[in-house]
Amino acid sequence: MDFAFTPAHERFRAELQEFCRKEVTADLFNEMKEAGEEHHPGFYRKLAERGWIGLQWPREYGGRALDNLHTTIFFEEMEYAFAPVGRYRGSVVFVGQSILAFGNEEQKRYFLPRIARGELTCCWLLSEPNAGSDAAALQLRAGEEGDDYILNGQKIFTSGAHASDYGMVAARTDPGAPTKYAGISLFLVPMNSPGLTIRPLWTIGGWRVNQEFFDSVRVPRTAMLGEKNTGWQNITRYTLNFERAAIAKTGTLLRLSDELTEYLKTARYAAGDRMRHQLAALRAEIIACRWLGYKVAWLYDQGLTPTNESSMIKALTVDLLYRLADLGSDILGYAGLLRGPEAPLEGHVEFLLRSIWFHLVGGGTPDIQRNIIAQRGLGLPRE
């Protein structure tokens, strides 16, 4: 047992903090409003310039060959600073990590360095109108035609489809497979492909997600990521676990609980003292989750696949996000309902309460996480 960070970790954290102090500005947010998602190309470029994209990737693919704890520290500090890392998550974790985990050498050599240089952004297309929690029921069809695959169907709820160069698309390549879990393959599809239409879906969280219509979208055979018909296995073994751990927003939890603690110190009122104790109880859970997040990163560094822990950290942190936003709203009182950067705590509590749904639903609902914990973690029988 050793809970110490290395000096390299500490230096990295300090560097991130310094960077965010300088670079995370109000302008950034104003400019993002147009983009419609938590992403800012200029800011993203700066991250690339610092060498902070692909921290955990081998040097031969443009990475820095650092441990996964660096990535966890990166997210924590970025979230603490409310820095925009939405497309970073999509490009680097959901897609980039997947390419590293089960892509072929050619794909790794093509995509990873470009992602690391900030030249190429990605998004991840799994859900369909009729395949949400039951993602394996997806129906988007990829049929073979000569050396190509032709994609037909729909995807929905995709973050950043409109801001990405490539999409990682889960498609059905063998409709006759014995189970729905067999016969799924993944493809890396240029988002500007002919036949691919993107419709914005606006969320109450302010950011947009998208619905995509694939009308005979043609990709070469080489666009396939991972072995044919093993897509579902790769998704559940790799991508979804990466996703779950990466959306556990410990940094946001730390920041908002710090700010609410400060708020209670300055704005004293009768109910505040009582809420201070509720906040303290949440704080204990937040600190526990912080270390659970480090543990998940460390498990990856050990070459393990922490499926159970990834579901746990996701379920725990989203529950904390919701409870913190709700308590925060009570702490701020009516003022906690005001929108915008001039509202108390720059409107972050209000925004979190409204945007909580990205975290609740993304990477699988709380019910799905609990199913996984019960069945994989505790070994309870399926129905």
């Binding site: 606006w202 969320t203 009570d330 009182g333 309902l337």
Partner: protein, 369 residues
């Protein structure tokens, strides 16, 4: 004992429900979210024409008569349709305040246009740093010659955008909290508009030496009488919350019967069933207490503890039902184009409206004296 609505009450409920179904579809709410309450006024006046705004105001004052139970029935339906709560501000707070504290002249002049929906008067009583239910207001009203001059800052004034007049709570020279009718366009009034999570608008209002005539004060006004009015409005708002909670639950139940995942309706999954069963229990609990509190208010008058209890429970029920219902809709739940999110975005507001959740438990079991 009787837990049913009377025939007349059922008629009220059906009339209100039909009215809102026709006149207040969700598209109308979206329009108001985009453009503000002025787009609501035509419907609001129709509500006045239908007599809905006059419920629990005596006919002699231009009201429709009826009881607090009738008012609860109306508000339940208003909540179900997520109708903007202008009526709570203008009638259940201001109207009732006029009834209990106003002069004959004030009642005669102001109540009929309030209950007909022709006029909106809205209360301005929240203040920054004000400890709820204490009379220590920082806004002051100084008597000068034949006028009162008001100075201070009020926060979170609802329906400000459509109000002709504000009912401002201020401390007079004797140190008592009094209520003053202040035209919204008076010289010395500035305001700043905020957008809420619900996309409703509220205003912070600065009164910088606003002069009103002596007759602008509600002659019988005092802080206890105002708190009693607040208690009444909490019951009305609790009814709104119960109706909204049930509507959200209904939508979730309906959706969970038709949405198929894993080759079965998602409503057949036990985890979802239990989530919705929990919401149903909270709604039932809140509704039972609601009608008790409304009945008590009608029969016994003041009932601050029951008003606090039902505000707390109904607020919880709405918040939790809206959460469970939105979650039931999965990825669709938080898309603007879906209606269920309208409920979620309003749940927390209803908890804070009229009097926030932090103070209700203080009323239920006060600190030992």
């Amino acid at each position: 004992m009787d837990f049913t609505l009377s025939q007349q009450q059922k008629m009220i409920r059906n009339a209100v429900r039909d009215f809102f179904k026709k006149e207040f579809p969700s598209s109308r709410l979206r329009q108001i979210e985009a453009k503000g309450l002025s787009d609501f006024l035509p419907v609001y006046r129709q509500m006045g024409d239908q007599g809905f705004l006059g419920i629990a105001i005596p006919e002699e004052h231009g009201g429709s008569g009826g009881t607090w139970v009738d008012l609860a029935i109306f508000n339940e339906e208003a909540g179900r349709a997520l109708v903007p709560s202008v009526h709570v501000s203008a009638v259940t707070l201001v109207g009732q305040a006029l009834l209990s504290m106003g002069s004959q002249a004030q009642k005669a002049e102001l109540l009929p246009p309030l209950t007909s929906g022709q006029t909106v008067i809205t209360p301005a009583y929240f203040e920054e740093g004000h400890e709820p239910r204490t009379p220590e207001l920082r806004t002051v009203a100084i008597a000068q010659d034949d006028r009162f001059v008001l100075r201070g800052e009020k926060r979170f004034v609802e329906a400000f955008e459509v109000a002709s007049t504000l009912l401002v709570a201020a401390t007079d020279e004797t140190g008592s909290a009094r209520l003053f009718l202040v035209p919204r366009v008076s010289p010395g009034i500035r305001h700043r508009e905020w957008l809420l999570q619900s996309l409703d608008r509220v205003a912070d209002v600065a009164l910088d030496g606003v002069a009103v005539p002596r007759e602008a004060v509600l002659p019988a006004s005092n802080w206890d009488a105002w708190l009693d009015v607040v208690d009444g409005a909490k019951i009305a708002l609790a009814a709104y919350a119960v109706g909204a909670a049930e509507a959200a639950l209904d939508m979730a139940v309906a959706y969970s019967k038709i949405r198929v995942q894993f080759d079965r309706p998602i409503g057949s999954f036990q985890a979802l069933q239990h989530k919705l069963a929990d919401a149903a229990m909270q709604v039932e609990q809140a509704r039972t207490l609601l009608y008790y509190a409304a009945w008590l208010r009608q029969e016994r008058g003041s009932c601050p503890r029951e008003a606090a209890m039902v505000k707390l429970l109904a607020g919880n029920a709405f918040r939790q039902a809206a959460y469970a219902a939105t979650l039931t809709h999965g990825g669709y739940g938080f898309m603007e184009e879906q209606d269920i999110q309208l409920y979620f975005r309003r749940a927390k507001l209803v908890e804070h409206q009229v009097e926030g959740p932090g103070v209700q438990t203080e009323i239920i079991i006060p600190a030992a004296g």
